[in-house]
Amino acid sequence: MAASDVKLLGARPSPFVNRVQFALNLKSIDHEFIPQNLAEKSELLLKSNPVHKKVPVLIHGDQPISESLVIVQYIDEVWSGPPSLLPSDPYDRATARFWAAYIDEKWFPLVRDLRNATDEQSKAAAVEKLFEGLKLLEDAFVNSSKGKGFFGGEKLGFLDIVLGCYLGWVRAGEIFTGLKILDETKTPALVGWAERFASHKAVDGVIPEPEELVNLIKKFQARAAAAADASSK
């Protein structure tokens, strides 16, 4: 399949875009990455995802697919050779989808809450909630990995991609707040997993360095503060 047949509209810092990049890399799919300026959206992006106007969008041939989890499953189904991203058993697939929804809808928003916490008390409360979630994910990892290195077992799979894409932002959150989120004394299995994940060849180089993301956090906060100032005048 020629590289021009598969395009990914994305933005490097977006964990949802990174997710799709992992899937494409794992499947060794040649593709063209077209970086998007989210402050000034391109015609192509608006045409390809008119409903949400967001990245990532995968364009395969001339067909656009949006929503990161929809895209990852599409990739798994179209390029169905090994490695498989989702497990083959329907119950295991349901378990993976359950945790994916939990991670996206319940857990990762807590990382944002931590970044936005202004005083020590709310930071501590946010970290506590994060830890509760991580305990659940630690158990999920132990059950899913069955003694091997990844959620997917011996190889990276769906859940590895779903959680792993957030590792840069988790690390950035730790640097920004000075608090530990992934703590080997609390969730040792996840800490070990995170190291293996980050050094996997399909992942290496995809997630921006935490320092770059910390700078982005500072930029967002400055912008938000300026907007608040302007609107209160």
Partner: protein, 244 residues
């Protein structure tokens, strides 16, 4: 291998009669012709089984298949489609399947919360909430286009997930004298809703209209009683998902 009525299959559904998430699962089971035992949960007094089978969210619906629990309605729908291969609710073509998943997510995460908010609006909030709901319904009306159902000739995952729009919302809106989803504004969706509610897998599990109306009495709208009733129900329903 027969997937119906087999001695090895044991299918139970823990639900709550008002919940459209529960209804989604029932419709899918009916489409596939699966026999199941329905267990109505008292949400103010959840059963030990519910808490055991769904420890993370403690919510309905919970599907139990041969003793193994599956939770979250969208996850359950995919599980049902992958386990029982007859009468598929998702298209086979990967691109069409991706489209169906995209639109199912849109209905679940954008349409349902917007419509739900209009029901529980105070009179000050109503116009703004209505505007948001109208916007979402317009997108859906465009997507439906000339098709009989979102799934084509027969109902599929998107239709199932949109069951609240197809039936309950119109009933509730009429009882509360709201004017969000009208035939004039959304002629295609209106016709879709009529066809949807008349499909036999759907008809089999719709609540009686009078029971539904009694559950949303107009006297509650805009009053402080709403908040306790609302919070009891919202314990069960998915809060609007965080934007991706």
């Amino acid at each position: 291998m027969s997937s119906r009525g087999s001695k090895m299959e044991e299918v139970k559904l823990f639900g709550y009669w008002v919940s459209p998430f529960c209804r989604s699962v029932e419709i899918a089971l009916n489409i596939k012709g699966i026999q199941y035992e329905y267990i109505e949960e008292d949400l103010t007094n959840k059963s030990p089984q519910l808490l055991q089978y769904n420890p993370v969210y403690k919510k309905i619906p919970v599907l139990l298949h041969n003793g193994k629990p599956i939770v979250e309605s969208m996850v359950i729908l995919e599980y049902i489609d992958e386990t029982w291969k007859n009468n598929p609710i998702l298209p086979e073509d990967p691109f069409e399947k991706a489209r169906a998943r995209f639109w199912a997510n849109f209905v679940d995460q954008k349409c349902f919360p917007a419509l739900w908010k209009t029901i529980w609006s105070t009179s000050e909030q109503y116009e703004q909430n209505k505007a948001e709901a109208l916007e979402r319904l317009k997108v859906l009306e465009n997507e439906l286009g000339g098709k009989r159902f979102f799934g084509g000739d027969s109902i599929g995952m998107v239709d199932i997930v949109a069951n609240f729009i197809g039936f309950s919302f119109r009933t509730i809106q009429e009882a509360l004298k709201l004017d969000v989803f009208t035939e004039d504004n959304f002629p295609k969706l209106w016709e879709w809703a009529e066809n949807f509610a008349n499909c036999s897998p759907v008809k089999k599990c719709l609540p009686p209209q009078d029971k539904l109306i009694a559950n949303f009495p107009p006297a509650y709208m805009g009053k402080t009683l709403v908040s306790s009733f609302q919070s009891r129900l919202q314990l069960q329903f998915h809060p609007p998902a965080a934007a991706k």
